[in-house]
């Protein structure tokens, strides 16, 4: 009788887990379809128009809401915190590789590259004419003038927003 009860509970748990997994995949598929639809509509819109405002606002609010939900679901499913590792013990993974802690060289490299881009952007922004001194915005304006490129850039922007809400 006990064995039958355990078997029944196991079957129920298996069905519940599968349903939960299906629900999660359905949610991911729905989010992807919504993002693709928004990017498709955004690709046909032009800046400084209502369609552009609405599609961008929809993407912005949608990603923030989906991201907050993602964070909440991840927190609900978080396993209990393991006990602290005694001094001298080597962690099982990620301890010595330095991958979780970018070193000073990496930080210096990216700060240098970023400062170079910002400095050149500011120099061009203060110079004229724009056709001779293109800024990042004017370059992006040219790129977003093409429907396909605009749609791809919009989808990339949505993807970047989704990445921000991922687990660190």
């Amino acid at each position: 009788m006990v064995l039958g009860l355990v078997a029944g509970l196991t079957r129920r748990f298996g069905r519940w887990t599968n349903r939960s997994r299906r629900t999660r995949w359905a949610a991911v598929a729905a989010v992807l379809c919504a993002a693709a639809a928004d990017a498709a509509v955004a690709s046909t819109s032009r800046p400084f128009t209502w369609p552009a405002d609405i599609t961008t606002a929809l993407g912005l609010v949608g990603v923030v809401l989906a991201g907050l939900t993602r964070l909440w679901v991840a927190r609900q499913a978080t396993a209990p915190v393991p006990p602290p590792v005694p001094p001298g013990d080597v962690p099982a993974s990620g301890g010595a590789g330095g991958l979780l802690h970018p070193d000073r060289r990496t930080i210096v490299l990216w700060i240098t590259v970023t400062l170079a881009v910002v400095a050149f952007e500011l120099f061009n922004y203060a110079s004229s004419p724009r056709s001779t001194h293109p800024t990042l915005s004017s370059i992006l304006n040219v790129l977003t003038g093409h429907e396909v490129l605009r749609g791809l850039l919009f989808a990339t922007w949505l993807g970047a927003g989704w990445w921000i809400w991922g687990r660190s």
Partner: protein
């Protein structure tokens, strides 16, 4: 070639060099050359804190609105 065309060509060349620097740095980080880490990993560290994540969301939102809406 007049001075205006020369300056224009030079500006585009500098933008191209900066693009190569960004892509090259990211590739070096992804291939872990010289112990470098990718920008994704660097930003991933910033994402670990509430303030870092909030700053990224604000920057991301401004960028999208600036490029696609206004």
């Amino acid at each position: 070639m007049d001075l205006g065309s020369l300056v224009k060509t030079l500006n585009w060349a500098i933008w191209a060099a900066l693009a190569v620097a960004v892509v090259g740095s990211e590739l070096a980080g992804r291939l872990r050359l010289a112990g470098l880490a990718s920008l994704e990993r660097l930003l991933g560290r910033g994402r670990a804190t509430v303030v870092g994540r909030a700053a990224m969301v604000i920057l991301w939102a401004w960028l999208g609105w600036h490029v696609f809406a206004r």
